[in-house]
């Protein structure tokens, strides 16, 4: 069947793609999308390990499932609040571009 390594490598690649997006995209929504990619990469790993350990132990492993569910929930919360912030910032500053929100500039 499929080696575990394939999943892990695919997840690592997806994670790095997401990381690149987070670091390099200008648009805040885009950054959030990249974060979603990273979270998905993590989920792939979690599910792959769930499968692997279930196979080793013979019974369904609960903890990875809970983790995956929590990632879903956190992702939902993060997207909800993040996008609301972007909308709010856009209203005030008329831009979704992160570079132009330079309130932190020292």
């Amino acid at each position: 069947m499929i080696p575990l390594s394939w999943y892990l490598i695919a997840a690592a690649a997806l994670f790095c793609i997401g990381l690149f997006g987070v670091l390099s995209r200008k648009n805040a929504v885009s950054i959030l999308m990249s974060v979603e990619l990273m979270l998905n990469a993590v989920n792939i790993n979690l599910v792959a390990f769930w499968h692997y350990h279930t196979q080793l132990q013979g019974t369904s492993q609960i903890a990875p499932q809970v983790f995956v569910a929590m990632v879903f929930i956190v992702a939902a919360a993060e997207v909800a609040v993040g996008l609301a912030l972007i909308i709010s910032a856009y209203r005030r500053r008329e831009t979704p571009v992160v570079d132009e929100m330079t309130l932190l500039k020292g």
Partner: protein, 118 residues
């Protein structure tokens, strides 16, 4: 077990194939006599005014948001519902508590007027 997903895959392929087939067969078979009215974006109905991309209302976002939250709620409640028959009473109480907490959010959205279309 994995073969079950095969059916899903086949089904997906077929569902993609059928509309494509319908459109391409129609394109192959239909006669073509274009004129300006037929080439308009909407052959019938209103002419569009201005660009099609317009600023949307924030209500779209808020509705999607409420939907998202309750969608995720279902993720947790579904396994609970599957196990419902084997669960003791306190488990039901816990799930009800879970729902009640989220109902608080719904109430807030309602009070805030987020559920009204303005």
């Amino acid at each position: 077990m994995l073969n079950d997903w095969l059916y899903v895959g086949i089904f997906a392929l077929v569902s993609m194939f059928l509309p494509a087939a319908a459109i391409s067969i129609a394109a192959l078979l239909s006669p073509r006599k274009p004129n300006s009215v037929k080439n308009a974006t909407y052959e019938c109905g209103m002419e569009t005014v201005g660009p099609a991309w317009v600023q949307m209302k924030v209500q779209y976002y808020v509705f999607a948001l409420v939907f998202l939250v309750f969608d995720v709620e279902a993720v947790l409640l579904f396994p609970w519902a599957v196990a419902y028959k084997q669960l003791p009473l306190y488990a039901v109480v816990e799930a009800i508590l879970f729902i009640l907490i989220l109902l608080g959010g719904l109430l807030y959205a309602w009070r805030k007027g987020a559920l009204e279309w303005r």
